[in-house]
Symmetry: C2
DNA sequence: TTGAAAGCGATACCAC
DNA sequence: GTGGTATCGCTTTCAA
């Protein structure tokens, strides 16, 4: 491996931009490569010394070293200081004279200095990198309607705190599910966020030994170095139950998610509790188990809608499944909401645009991500003191056209 | 900074899992922290020597050093080799004896050795990190319907090649748009992918000086170290034009994206060319400029639908805008497709579920991402030889219910 | 084929 | 306050 780098040069033709702005044609950037090689080894040292000699601690305007980025040594050399002093000045240590700090900062700016994360990581054992694990989704990671917005919030929260995000995920690597630790070890991540973790994941035991803080979304985990962030799904499902009951429905069915997701248990619990609160009985027979996907919602609906007497309302534990229910109803010629009310969960963007628009339980997905970010960062930087071990955000019922009064007579 | 690390320990109660599987209650992981500190400094050296002494080159079963990850020195010590030899063996250099390599690999496995990316990056100046820049989207990054799936493909392609993905984006950092280089310099990324780059971005000139290969999505850029990946939008828009014309439409309007996106020019060009091919005239008056958002599509539609004679078909250069058109038509009491045909572009997931389902031009988004990944990696590892400077994927017309025969009489 | 040693760029300890 | 220096884990000459 050579370690050398070409430095490309791009010239964007301003005329072309102007032309395109005038609706004429699109701009084309032109990139040409100049053969200047990246300096290394002895050459680099020579350059550094040259900088030290030609620029004594004076007011001369400095410019970045050619062919490579400025380092602490460059700043130290230009100022006649030691790298140690420069490092302290740059990192805000108290034991630097104000004058020195000022001069260091100024030269750093002039040389366009940027700290080298790799070097920093090597010596501090801290990378300022957070790993996000997308679990149980073969292909849809960022394009998963629920996960994507959580990750958006996560990214925002982490950027604010000065952390970067690294993505891991099932199905991305050869040879089945790789160990969490293997993925993490290479990049020395400081913390991790888990999305879609199932309780039957063979690697559950591994979470044990992760040498960094972790946050799970929607999966309760107890411990000093772990935080779980999620919505209060018991409450969310309860809201839906009361809404349907208030509309006069009595034969209410539910299509739940799979049993390996803690949220399934929570939503079922909340839903049945809600029905019970208004004096309705819940029968096990009204429950069908899906897996959160559209297809499973469709299937579950077909099964439920063939029963006699037919349920007048179906609560699906995810919007995707609820969309499947709508499709099944449409195909079976059952009018929504006249003959059947349908409730979903998540409030994904498709929900509002479905026909009819879906009544659902809104989850503040972006805030979930932000909360997750704050939790990992808090755990990393301040330890578990003052960091809640569990963060529960409030879900909200969104009533749209897919639910309506119970039909007076049953088919 | 101490550099010390606690090692957490988590015990997952197996009974609880079983109970939950039985529908009883959800599993709770229990994490407890043991006070064993991470070794460093002198301590670490002592451990290493101990390993070297207690395990001479024998067949003894080795285990990872306690409290820290194994390093090359551990392997070397256990085998009585030099770190240099171990490094060469692990990296597949030819100048190692087969026996040595075998033994090194075996010990590495036993010690659960993982290379340290930071150390490697520091010396090789290669990080195996690719930066993806989300531009021009304040909040929706991963949750943007177009971008998310491209990034999914990108991630997949990169993982296959052994690269990781780092995310940058506008609005993530304080103080306005930061320089591309500033973001990249810190982490020493090996290459970059740009999404949503506008031709009026003040940082265009900066692309010039990026010291690594770059790929733009949907923005043509020429140069040895740059590749642009996208769809053939001229062709895509042409397909839509011919489809609408074939349905008998004569008064056809278009809502384009903003002029700072090269795709806008391409789609307009293709659309007018398509109309011309079938003998239709294109009037500038039929063009409204939006900005790809739903709101701008709505506005544009309101404007167009107030005109007399009213257009009988509208082509929106993005599905989001087309959804806005549908909303406008609905509010204005104009039936789609009976009185107005609507075409979109992108085939986002909402398109198929819209009512009526949207006729649109499908873009293979995931493949776009995969192609981008292959391009950056190719550029990095093999230089520009044999790497196409531009990759154009084929779009596809998807006909759904939002387009239909032109109404015989005009309102 | 292997080993010794010089860094890569930064931090932190210990003197002064 | 400041400087010298060992060190993080690894790659890469250069000798042996």
């Amino acid at each position: 491996m050579k370690g050398h780098r070409r430095r490309p040069r791009l010239r964007l033709s301003a005329t072309r931009i102007a032309q395109f702005a005038a609706g004429d044609r699109p701009p084309i950037g032109e990139v040409t490569v100049l053969p200047s090689l990246r300096g290394k080894g002895g050459e680099g040292v020579a350059q550094r010394q040259a900088i030290g000699r030609t620029t004594p601690p004076s007011r001369k305007r400095l410019s970045p070293p050619p062919g490579r980025r400025a380092t602490l040594r460059d700043i130290a050399g230009a100022l006649g200081l030691s790298v140690a002093a420069v490092s302290r000045a740059l990192n805000g240590h108290p034991d630097v004279s104000p004058t020195t700090r000022r001069r260091v900062l100024e030269v750093a700016r002039q040389l366009n200095y940027r700290p080298n994360a790799a070097a920093k990581t090597l010596v501090t054992h801290r990378s300022r990198l957070i790993g996000v694990y997308f679990l149980g989704q073969e292909r849809a990671r960022f394009s998963h309607p629920f996960a994507s917005e959580v990750v958006d919030g996560l990214l925002e929260g982490l950027a604010t705190a000065g952390y970067d995000l690294l993505v891991f995920g099932d199905g991305l690597y050869d040879g089945g599910a790789p160990s969490f630790m293997d993925l993490a070890a290479h990049r020395q991540i400081d913390g991790a966020v888990f999305l879609g973790l199932r309780t039957d994941d063979p690697r559950w035991g591994e979470l044990a030994r992760l040498p960094f803080p972790l946050v799970t979304i929607d999966v309760p985990v107890e411990g000093e170095r772990a935080v779980s962030v999620g919505c209060d799904h018991i409450e969310g499902a309860r809201l839906m139950a009361r809404h349907l009951a208030a509309l006069g429905h009595r034969r209410i069915a539910m299509i739940n998610g799979h049993r390996w997701a803690p949220v399934s248990w929570e939503r079922l619990t909340g839903f049945t509790a809600g029905l019970r609160q208004v004096g309705l009985e819940w029968e096990e027979a009204c429950l069908v188990e899906g897996d959160f996907t559209e297809a499973s919602g469709y299937q579950g609906a077909v099964e439920l809608l063939r029963r006699r007497p037919r349920p007048t309302a179906i609560f699906a534990a995810s919007d995707l499944m609820a969309l499947g229910v709508l499709r099944a109803a449409r195909e079976m010629g059952i009018a929504v909401p006249e003959e059947l009310s349908v409730g979903g969960y998540d409030d994904i963007s498709d929900a509002a645009r479905a026909s009819p628009p879906l009544t659902t339980v809104h989850q503040p997905r972006r805030q979930l991500g932000v909360a997750a970010a704050q939790s990992v960062v808090g755990l990393i930087e301040r330890g578990h003191d003052g960091i809640p071990s569990r963060v529960l955000l409030r879900p909200e019922l969104v009533v749209r056209a897919s639910t309506g009064p119970a039909p007076s007579s049953s088919p």
